[in-house]
């Protein structure tokens, strides 16, 4: 029949078809981690709304911690239930995958978030303002910096306890992101965890101008990138007629033909597929901070409140790489020969640029930002090896890396002077003399970043490069090795600064943290050392989790 008639029938069908539409059936149990976290977030909002101000802080901290812990427990339960391996399947009408990678990454994200909450909750570092201990978030985000509104807020002892539910929302999004099994869910999850992060970035207590600037940049560029992502999704949808990963994959593999001959006649070529795929990749590469989509990273990392930076650097990377893996391994494997060379290029450029530019940085947070870019490059090297080994090595690397990062940023929050955190490297001179313990811990993290043996960094790097080499990407390994030699230089520079340089007269002091930050740092060190010395158990875990469902 004719086009018009077809369309008309479409309308009418939808008119008298309610009973024909199958009720969506959702496996709530299998989505429990996400649901728990989001639920906790909603409770947090209610708490903000109804609880008296003095109660909010303890309640929020408790609520968030419990929520995340419960979520982690749920993940463990699912994994134990075999959803990671045997019973792995696609839930929620094909919207969300419950399989090894998803559970592993969700577990990692939840743990990271849990530790991040500790750093969020730290209230011992900043000097007491008007008799109240304060954390590193603005008294009142809306108030103009330095304006009397802010003075009022500070006097009144306001604190933005909203950060906790916001954090939870972000975590919720991150949990869905790597598990998303169709492009729409992917997009939604992306936005769900991005928007809260934009807000968090703007909420620094000190140097609010920088904080707000970081937020603006992050927001605009983020929105820009998500537009690319969305357009890519549109094109893929156009190509395949569906947005589910499995469906697209079938079309790519040629097992199913696209429905409409009209479309086939005009855009039957793979241009839609290729361009769409590329655009989606752009969106994801932006989130992982790969060159040339990295430029927001240093600015945002520096401007955002340090606990947020730590959380972002760790959790965002995990989630984004998870999504990237799923996309490349489930949707586009049929296209391997098209995207692999491109990703090679991206990986190489990312490693080199990250390492080289970091050499001349003068600010600890920026330094760590560039180092995170370089590490993104290393991880990409593992992603490119299209093999179960590749997946598990990337999973392991992400776990190892995120804890080191959290720990490092937690240490950064400790080193303070009159103007808050002293992030200029110059001020760190001789820190080893003043407080050897802190300096030593930071040195451990730096060595892990540098991939010195007996730290988690080495194990991860080795795993990734091994996978890459076996995937035939030997040149990639060589470049990676060379750039990590360059990278070693600036990590070492910081160590030299801390231990071998004479302390400055008016250098920063190290604040004595409460149990929260101490715990965070302790966990970081513990994980770093354990994954360095006895990684086998976790490698097995990652290995078992190395298979995607589709």
């Amino acid at each position: 029949m004719s086009h018009a008639a077809f369309v008309h029938s479409l309308w009418t069908m939808s008119a008298d078809a309610p009973r024909k539409i199958p009720a969506p059936q959702i496996e709530y149990a299998q989505l429990s981690p996400t649901l728990i976290v989001l639920g906790a977030a909603c409770l947090g909002i209610l708490a903000e709304a109804f609880l008296p101000r003095r109660l909010r802080y303890p309640v929020q901290v408790l609520l968030t911690a419990v929520g995340l812990a419960a979520g982690f427990a749920a993940v463990v339960a699912l994994a134990a239930g075999g959803y990671g391996t045997g019973k792995a399947h696609v839930a929620a009408m094909g919207a969300i995958a419950v399989d090894g990678p998803a559970l592993f990454l969700q577990g990692t994200i939840l743990l990271v978030a849990l530790i991040a909450v500790f750093t969020f909750a730290e209230r011992r570092l900043d000097p007491v303002a008007h008799g109240r201990a304060v954390d590193s978030f603005a008294a009142q985000g809306a108030a103009v910096p330095g304006g009397e509104a802010e003075q009022e807020a500070v006097k009144a002892g306001f604190t933005t306890t909203e950060v906790f539910p916001i954090l939870l929302f972000a975590v919720g999004g991150m949990l869905i992101f790597p598990a998303a099994n169709d492009l729409l869910t992917l997009f939604i999850a992306l936005e769900v965890f991005s928007l809260p992060l934009y807000v968090l970035c703007a909420l620094a207590r000190r140097q609010r101008l920088l904080s707000q600037e970081a937020a603006v940049k992050y927001f605009l560029l983020g929105a820009f990138s998500s537009a690319f992502l969305l357009f890519g999704i549109a094109l893929l949808y156009g190509y395949a007629g569906t947005v589910t990963y499995a469906g697209i994959a079938d079309v790519v593999n040629g097992t199913v033909r696209t429905v409409d001959p009209a479309l086939a006649s005009t855009t039957g070529n793979d241009a839609l597929l290729l361009i769409g795929g590329a655009l989606v990749l752009v969106g994801l590469l932006f989130k992982v901070g790969a060159v040339p989509f990295h430029m927001w990273t240093p600015d945002v990392y520096q401007g955002a409140p340090t606990p947020v930076t730590g959380f972002m650097a760790a959790a965002t990377k995990v989630a984004a790489f998870g999504a990237l893996l799923r996309l490349l391994y489930v949707v586009l494997p049929g296209l391997r020969w098209d995207w692999r060379p491109v990703m090679w290029g991206v990986a190489i450029v990312t490693m080199v640029v990250g390492a080289v530019v970091a050499v001349t940085q003068t600010d600890v947070k920026r330094l760590l930002a560039y180092s995170s870019i370089a590490h993104a490059g290393f991880i990409l090297a593992g992603v490119i090896a299209v093999s179960p080994d590749g997946v598990s090595s990337v999973l392991f690397y992400l776990a190892a890396y995120s804890f080191v990062t959290l720990g490092a940023f937690a240490v950064v929050t400790l080193v303070r002077d009159a103007g808050g955190e002293a992030t200029q490297l110059a001020k760190w001179a001789g820190l080893g003399r003043r407080s050897p313990m802190v300096a030593a811990v930071f040195a451990v993290f730096l060595l892990a970043f540098a991939g010195i043996p007996l730290t988690s960094g080495f194990t991860g790097k080795f795993a990734v490069f091994k996978a890459a080499a076996q995937g035939g990407a030997v040149p990639l390994v060589v470049v990676g090795v060379l750039s990590s030699a360059v990278a070693a230089f600036f990590y070492i520079r910081v160590i030299v600064l801390m231990f071998f340089n004479e302390p400055q007269a008016e250098g920063p002091s190290v604040a004595v943290p409460s149990v929260f930050t101490s715990a965070a740092i302790a966990v970081g060190v513990a994980v770093t050392v354990v994954l360095g010395l006895a990684p086998q158990y976790f490698l097995d875990l990652a290995g078992k989790a190395g298979v995607f469902v589709r």
Partner: protein, 537 residues
């Protein structure tokens, strides 16, 4: 399962490091004695190893231990010693106590240093020394490439802190500048070696890829790979083998150090305190040359043979180059450093001469060079600590005021120029003979080294010890008891091994023979086998 002797030998100093580091700031002396005790305990264990080691059993590795470690990477915790390793472990365990004794006061905080309960340099110094010892020992013991690599690489960190953190107080110039020069030297040392190590990491991964591809399961076990090669289950493509060989060799050549990768050594040895300098050249660098013997040759025999000519040339250059630069040095410790570069040239030359004499001599050389450098460097350290200057020009006529110091210095020097009757002569001559019998030209050119050695040693002695007594050295005290305790045994050892090296050669010989058979090389035959004719009679 039998008593894990090898593990314990490495674990004791490690434990010592922890214990020493834990000593409270006030109890500095206690830390020193603790460290000394642990190092001596290690020495005992090393002695036990020597005793339990049976050179004549056909087994390539003995006292072996084997446990799974990282299955996913095919990494095993495999330990085992051959004749070469057990001797070098003994050397390490022997030298460290002397290093500790010699460095007794090197890490005492300066007077004006503000009292700080948490800042404990002394404890750190000795803890780091023990840590280095532990890592060196285990990398001598490891028969799993990955295991070796890990400690080969991790070793850099404590050494780095030793060099950068506890520099030579005898800085000729201002405190800041010495600090700057010191951290420069330390960073250079670390980056140079780290680069080498990372390139080796690429090769290690490559090795895994190859084994995984050909054997089904990737492995790093030296014995397994050698075995697989022997029965043809594992064949390297020529290019692959050469690439991997170069990857390994580069790292070892940096650490050895071989010309032209030597430039980090003079700085590191010059800026570090004498005991640390000894630790670096006498112990740590030996891991590099040792690894050439154990890994380069045994894993990649064909590639080794392919690379031999170039390496021989490089090491000969190194011999002459190091010696000539030593002659031109104005700084005592830098002079000794360049002398060591020349000696490492000899060692590498011996290894790649691919003759029994060459490799046996090279192994012996590692031991002897360790002892002789220790003797010379430590005495130099005592001298420098007295005058507070490293410049040769600042000395003169010392033998008049401190005859014993001068005497020991002389003996150390004579050992360095490998005078017959002292240990180094034997090894140096073996290396030369071994080289000469395969590469006569190289052998002859290398022999020039002995003249140059005499030159730089005697010039050093003449300028510092003889001539009219300089006012600055007047009233310089002679060696103290502690210092004599350090130097005396070393000199005695030099004499003993010079006259009767057989105990060592007995152990080394079979191991060298095994290596040679791995590389499929045999010694060249003499034109007129006079000995055999005599025997026939």
């Amino acid at each position: 399962m039998s008593f894990p002797l090898l593990t314990v030998t490495a674990a004791v100093p490690a434990a010592g490091a922890v214990a020493t580091a834990a000593v409270p700031a006030a109890r500095r002396a206690a830390a020193k004695w603790l460290a000394l005790a642990f190092s001596l305990a290690t020495l005992v264990l090393a002695a036990v190893q020597l005793a339990r080691f049976d050179p004549d059993s056909g087994k390539p590795f003995q006292l072996t231990e084997s446990h799974a470690w990282i299955k996913s990477f095919g990494v095993r915790y495999d330990l085992g010693v051959d004749g070469i390793a057990v001797v070098l472990i003994a050397l390490t365990a022997l030298l460290v106590p002397f290093v500790i004794l010699a460095g007794w006061h090197d890490a005492d905080p300066l007077e004006e240093a503000e009292p700080n309960r948490r800042w404990r340099p002394t404890q750190g110094f000795f803890a780091l020394i023990l840590l280095v010892e532990a890592m060196v020992v285990i990398s001598f013991e490891a028969t799993d490439v990955f295991l070796f690599y890990i400690f080969f690489e991790a070793m850099l960190i404590p050494v780095y802190f030793l060099v950068g953190g506890f520099g030579d107080r005898a800085g000729a110039r201002s405190e800041e500048e010495t600090a700057a020069r010191r951290s420069y030297a330390a960073v250079k040392f670390l980056l140079y070696n780290l680069a080498g190590g990372l390139i080796m990491m690429a090769a290690v991964i490559g090795l895994y890829a190859v084994t995984a591809h050909q054997l089904g399961t990737g492995t790093f076990s030296l014995t397994e790979i050698v075995q697989a090669r022997a029965d043809g289950r594992l064949q390297f493509a020529t290019v692959t083998e050469r690439a991997l060989f170069l990857g390994f060799f580069f790292a070892f050549a940096v650490k050895a150090p071989l010309w032209p990768l030597h430039t980090w050594l003079p700085g590191a040895m010059g800026e570090a305190t004498a005991p640390v300098a000894v630790l670096i050249t006498a112990v740590v660098d030996k891991v590099g040359t040792f690894a050439m013997l154990r890994f380069c040759l045994q894993l990649f025999p064909e590639a080794s043979k392919w690379a031999t000519p170039v390496i021989v040339v490089l090491s000969v250059i190194g011999i002459l180059y190091g010696a000539l630069l030593a002659v031109a040095q104005k700084d005592i410790k830098r002079l000794i450093a360049y002398a060591s570069i020349s000696h490492f040239g000899f060692i590498v030359l011996g290894i790649f001469a691919m003759t029994t004499q060459g490799q046996g001599g090279a192994t012996l050389y590692m031991v002897n060079h360790g002892i002789s450098t220790a003797a010379l460097m430590l005495v130099a350290g005592f001298l420098i600590s007295r005058r507070g200057s490293r410049l040769i020009a600042d000395y003169g006529g010392v033998q008049k005021v401190a005859p014993v110091l001068a005497g020991t210095f002389m003996v150390g020097g004579l050992a360095t120029l490998s005078l017959p009757g002292l240990a180094p002569f034997v090894s140096e001559f073996l290396v030369l003979v071994g080289t000469f019998s395969r590469y006569p030209a190289a052998g002859i050119v290398a022999t020039l080294g002995i003249v140059l050695a005499a030159l730089y040693v005697l010039v050093l002695y003449q300028r510092t010890m003889t001539g009219p007594v300089k006012d600055e050295v007047r009233g310089m005290p002679d060696l103290r008891v502690r210092e004599l305790v350090v130097v005396g045994p070393l000199i005695a050892l030099l004499l003993f091994l010079g006259v009767y090296p057989k105990p060592l050669t007995k152990i080394i010989d079979p191991a060298v023979g095994h290596t040679m058979s791995q590389v499929h090389r045999t010694d060249p035959k003499p034109d007129v086998p006079a000995n055999d004719v005599e025997a026939a009679k």
